[in-house]
């Protein structure tokens, strides 16, 4: 089965990718066709959150999105986070709080929080943010430092 070329804008750069099968996940396109390995592969079933990216500004689990569903979309991955003012702000909050250990869940947390702050802006309460982030799993930190990073990121918003 031939599929039409996939057109994506990833981290501000537009590209056209040929030969992407209809059942390929966005996660695999990003990692294996575009070489953006910063988006992490965890469970591949939407349970861990490690593969979170932004699709048209909203956070999405890239393991549950078919690449062709994102056709024409603008995707931001962890590699592009620092070029986004909110993304850079979130990275700084995680660094200041020391909110990472092995770092495997970190790109997912950073992108998920970035998406939430973009969506809700100053209207986001820490409680809301923590509730929304509740489906991102971390096995190392015990989450306390991540909670602190969320508080820092929220407090530092204009």
């Amino acid at each position: 089965v031939t599929t039409p070329p996939l057109s994506l804008t990833v981290n501000g750069r537009s590209s056209s990718v040929d030969g992407v099968p209809a059942d390929e996940r966005l996660l695999d396109t990003l990692r294996w066709r575009l070489g953006l390995m910063g988006t992490k592969e965890g469970c591949r079933t939407g349970e861990c959150g490690a593969c979170t990216v932004l699709v048209d500004g909203e956070s999405a689990l890239s393991c549950l999105v078919l690449a062709h569903e994102a056709d024409g979309a603008s995707v931001v991955t962890i590699e592009g986070a620092e070029h986004d003012p909110i993304g850079r702000h979130v990275q700084a909050a995680f660094e200041e709080a020391g909110a990472l250990q092995c770092g495997y869940c970190t790109p997912g947390f950073v992108m998920a929080l970035t998406g939430l702050l973009k969506e809700h802006g100053g209207a986001a309460s820490v409680d809301l943010l923590l509730r929304e982030l509740g489906s991102n799993l971390c096995r190392c930190t015990g989450y306390r430092s991540i909670v602190q990073a969320v508080e820092l990121a929220r407090a530092g918003l204009p």
């Binding site: 861990c48 990472l100 096995r139």
Partner: protein
Amino acid sequence: VTASIRPDAGVKLRGMATYGTDLSVPGMWWGALVLSPVAHGRIRSVDLSGARAVPGVVAIGANDVPGLVGGNGGDAERPPFPRETIVYRHQPIAAVAAPSLEAARRAAALVRVETEPLPVKTDLESIFPDWPGSGAGNSPHVAAHVRARRGDVDRILGEAETVVRETYRTAGVLQVPLEPHACLAEVTDGRWTVRTSTQSPFGLREDTATILGIPESSVVVDGTWVGGGFGGKNSALLEPYALLLAKAAGAPVRLALGYREEFLLSRSTLPSVVRMETGVSHGRIVARRVRLLLDVGSSLPGRDFATGYSIGFFLGPYVTPVFEVEGYAVRTNKPPFGPHRAPFVPQCAFVAESHLDEVARTIGVDPEAFRADHLWTEGARTHFGQAVGPFGLPAAVQAARTRAREWRAHLPPDHGVGIGAGFWSTMTGAGGEARVRLMPRELVVLQGEREIGSGSVLAGLSSVAERATGLPRERVRIDYADTSRAPFDSGVFGSRTVGALGRAVDEAVRALFAEVGRRMGTAGPVRLEVADDEIQAVAGTSRRAVRDLLTSEELAGDGLVAEGRHYGSTDAIDESVVLEGQFYPFRDFTGAAHVAEVSVDRATGTVRVERYAAFHDVGTVIDPATARAQVEGGVVMGLGAALTEEAIWADDGRLTNAGLLDYRIPTMGEVPPIEVTFIEGFAGAGPFGAKGLGEPPIVPVPATIAAAVRAATGAHLLELPLSAERVARALKVV
């Protein structure tokens, strides 16, 4: 001490860290394992012809191994693929590789295995229905037996005023790293190279060489960033298969587990049943007997490590004049038992603490006072006669009791506060080496471990070098090399990295300073400082730029190089203890006391942890931020083992909850505020008096939660985890 910002924050926050799962090279092939559809069976045939018919595919099974590795064909006891008998469900029985993952998976599905069924054993107690009455004897299911005894237990128990007898059960728990196992192997010119996510490159090299029956010198292990280890990435899992496939394919092969497979192949803590007997007279423990059945899965006879070191932990850090502890390692049709952060010891501590509480209540005394009265003190000896040494646990327990009193002063209904304590050791007996290179502008520490996330390598070793030299963090670089170029180290396990490898770094700096002092013409102490962007050596009143102390060859090359090594020893076991079987004596003791406040929903049995406090004997805090992070992470991992984590195997050997929805690790919403306090001043054997901190934080957690649940509800639970179902059932009986 400088800096609380993690040295690896930048690379990880930008998605630039390469983990095992991220490995790829041009021309790489993809591997896939063929997993056994049965848990126990004699192999009639493994037919690879279907897989081999797929164009471009290589498929290998047990018969292909000798041809691929040459020589004797590898470890006869532990071959990569079973030759005659499958011993656990999902055991790898063949492997395939192809230029695409899709082709590899298609080929793997075409492998046919025929077996003659053998009885599947997954439940400890059904193997020994009469235990502990009859003992486990010489059953073929016993992989190891250990017994340690001091004094006449039968007589003293017979004479005791009160004897309390209970039976406890604990569940299997899995490591569940976010990163599944993954590696990339290549075989060229007789060099078997594997890049992989590992806690122990050198241990893995030895393991791989043994399994494949090839010289260690021909194996090179190159570690990646590790996406969570927790013991699960200590030894070889995928690497021998990836190397065999690479050899067969004549191409680099990537082999990675899917997340479900990560659960299915996990070698971790398995279930146990423990019979406890404690005799008390005049308010003091006079004698105790412990009998343990520990499931070790398909561990080979003689290859069990868990029973021999864990058995002493059932007595807790409490003075016990007369005892007999006996453990049987029982083989079942599960993957082999493997290390999981303080392997099996949180479970031991749960049993030890809960049982002593019951003993105290039975004789009508306060459980926390009873435990505190029996606690080891500095100068005491362990059950097996080793010196406890400087020991901050009594101070930690005292602090915990104070906090518990404060929390109990204002307690809503259905809330309860409990205390748990536990001891652990720093495995400084496992050796390590490090090399330092002093350059005009930086000090480089070359060593063989990758950072697994705990911070012990990048922050821990750096902090040791900073303290030893006087340099700030930005002038110290922790460098890594693969096993062909780095100095040897045992691995990032056993809470040993700072304690043992850190000692090697400290020794290397001492050797470096001896040479610097010689060049400066002084035997006095040396330190390093930064001035005008250059490192300067200072000794007494003399000060020289490092640039001026180095020879021209050193300036052009590696700088001034010095090496350090640390190989600890183990203490002998006391002669008054009669031992049978293989024991692993611990040393460099540390301890922790924890306090939890929980609330319990009486209708559902759901336990919510409201707040938590951890008091840790740590000797000396080497890096404050990572130390605190270790405790928070360990506590929360322990909350999982205490409340929700339970690996459940069906009678046919299938792990029934192989996934994150069914095997419940803690999530952000259920984590309480955690207060962390370090008790310093009780020096350990590590550099600057440091003790290990990777594993101790998980040890007291299930015991603490059980004590709090009992305080909240009166329910005395004898089984881990304290799942909502078990708590609700217990509340109906209370």
